[in-house]
């Protein structure tokens, strides 16, 4: 299926990005500015991106605005866009959950509608493997065919599932369109920040007594590379994008010298909700499920069909994160000295 691969500049293309000011938006714009095949970048967000250079043109688009589908379709048509990247997602669970729902679930609905109206040839969605949800009945490796069960009690996760559903609907409505969903594992690295990295920044981290799930990460550079690959080449379908290797959660804490605070699971959920509502925790109690059951994704499809292999392993990704923290704080990251890399 791939049209432009390898070293050549390939077929020229024009890109539009929603969420241009997000981490992935900024990094992707920086990469596209370097790509000679990329002719034009339409950056859509409520604030202009900082990494935009000569090719980037910013248009203000607020996805919580009910007329945003019309505005987006106008930009897509006027600029003759070939690829639409939908990246406007929140990295942290928000306390304003209804606003977040408007932005992520309804915003995706608007954007997919705009893409259908403007007849954009390709749509790339940034998703996360969290959409599978952490359940005790998960297989050890979740394939792309697996049901998107999410976490029914967490709106942050369910909004991501809703965005995936919108893409699936678009795929059904417009079969000629190339629809790609990249489900990133937990993205870690020196600069990317999320609820998860915020949690690991603290010295003491919650842990559920008697549960030690397997964890899997993705380095931020690999995530951007995968996005770029999906933009440059045509790969219809859903792909788990995850780094090779898995670690136990306790080992993740050990690598960073973090102290796991054991909590009984019967109390943990309500305690977590309490802390989140008091704005003392980074995620509500339901997220403890992600520290309780294994939700590791299978990378076979990514390797064989997307033709992508990450440069960093899971362990290298998490160590890169810890090392950047240690550099920032000017401390020696404990535990890193011993066989970390």
């Amino acid at each position: 299926m791939s049209k432009a691969s390898g070293d050549g500049p390939g077929r020229p293309y024009r890109v539009a990005l929603t969420g241009a000011r997000t981490f992935f938006g900024e990094r992707l714009i920086a990469a596209l500015e370097e790509d000679p095949a990329c002719e034009h970048i339409a950056a859509l967000d409520i604030r202009p991106p900082e990494s935009g250079r000569t090719k980037t043109r910013f248009s203000r688009l607020d996805l919580t605005d009910p007329s945003s589908d019309d505005q987006a379709a106008q930009v897509l048509k006027d600029d003759g866009i070939d690829v639409l990247c939908h990246l406007a997602f929140l990295a942290h669970p928000s306390h304003a959950s209804s606003w977040a729902h408007e932005l992520e679930a309804i915003g995706s609905f608007y954007i997919m509608n705009a893409a259908a109206t403007a007849k954009v040839p390709k749509v790339v969605l940034r998703s996360t493997t969290a959409v599978y949800g952490a359940h005790p009945t998960n297989p050890a490796f979740l394939t792309e065919r697996h049901l998107l069960r999410g976490e029914p009690k967490s709106r942050w996760v369910m909004d991501k599932v809703a965005a995936e559903r919108e893409l699936a609907r678009l795929r059904k409505d417009c079969p000629q369109m190339v629809c790609t969903a990249l489900r990133f594992g937990m993205t870690m690295g020196p600069t990317v920040r999320s609820w998860w990295s915020r949690m690991l920044t603290r010295q003491s981290v919650p842990r559920l007594m008697g549960y030690d799930p397997m964890m899997q990460f993705l380095h931020e550079d690999d995530a951007v590379d995968a996005l770029l690959k999906a933009v440059r080449e045509d790969h219809p379908g859903d792909f788990n994008v995850v780094a090779p290797g898995t670690l136990y959660y306790t080992d993740v804490l050990k690598l960073g010298g973090r102290v796991g605070v054991p909590m009984p699971h019967l109390l943990g959920y309500s305690f977590g909700n309490l802390l989140f509502n008091l704005q003392l925790a980074d995620a509500p109690g339901t997220f403890l499920n992600y520290l309780r059951y294994t939700w590791v994704a299978d990378d076979r499809r990514m390797r064989e069909q997307l033709g992508f292999s990450p440069r960093y392993t899971s362990r290298e990704a998490i160590v890169a994160f810890y090392q950047s923290l240690a550099r920032r704080d000017g401390t020696q990251a404990t535990g890193l000295a011993r066989g970390a890399v």
Partner: protein, 377 residues
Amino acid sequence: MASRQRKKRATAGDEPPTAVGDDGAADPSTAARSEPESEPTGEREEHRDPELNRWADAIRIDSDVFESKTEIFSLEELRERVARLGTQPGVREIVRFVREVGLPRIERLVARWLASREVREIDDFGFEPAFIEPLEAVAKWFHDNYFRVESRGLEHVPDEGRVLIVANHSGTLPYDGAMVVTAVREQHPSHRRVRALVEDFIYHVPYLGTLMTRMGAVRACQENAVRLLEHDQATLVFPEGVKGIGKLFKKRYRLQRFGRGGAIRLAIKARAPIVPCAIVGAEESMPLLSKVGWLARPLGLPYIPVTPTLPLLGPLGLIPYPTKWTIDFGPPIDIPSYAADALDDRVLVNRLNEQVRSSIQEMIDRRLRERRSVFFG
């Protein structure tokens, strides 16, 4: 730090250390001398002036004297005695030996323990070989000396490559799985590690799920099992599941339904031969008399077993009885050769399923006819 050095010097100088006050009186000058070379503690820093130091020590000594009246042993006095002991000719050498040889050795031990805590190698499923090694020794003891397991037909398990071992499940607690794994590990020429597929409910129960995962068990579902077989692992499955292990003693050695034929579909899908396996002796090692359901549900368990000893003797009841076990491995049933397209034909899958079940039942019956004693075989 500074005060300890000072004290040693004071006692080494043969001043009578019985009265605590003497030490204090000798103090200010030595303290003033020792200060530049040794790092001053926060306390010392406050009173740099020797005059003030004397006052400070006088006050402290007063309080010490006061305390020594109320306590049987004042801490200061104890320290004095230890310090005096340390200067005795024989003891001094011992102290030096401990400090120069013993402490580094302890330090090294601690460092080694810390290093053993470091992130260890695991496979994709979370199996940690370093974790299971000490447990294997325990299982081997049970295998050799406790159950005196007699394995026959081990040659039917291939040295390498994928194989699905299908066995009967019994005995209230899954000791039978551990024994099959140990039998292959210890007695098979390849010493391969068999990976067991375990029930779902384990993963709802705290500690149990993590423990089993680290020991190399994998949750029983098609995706996991196919992946294991594709990695050319020997995989052990108990198709009866909880129904088998949780059947009452009166139904012993009567095989339950083999699920919905998942094991057969698995063998077809992964193109793996099936080795039937009959375990005799496990039923009597923990005779299940009754099951308590209502108590188990909140704990996430399928049932709480009642055996002659289990609730009665508390945790001691978890120890199985030393019955004589035999494990028979039958000749491999090569399902893929004649059922390549049987996946869609559920009736055919079920027929094959029944075939495997009856062959295991036959092996069990044959063994039961030969057996004369439950405990001595």
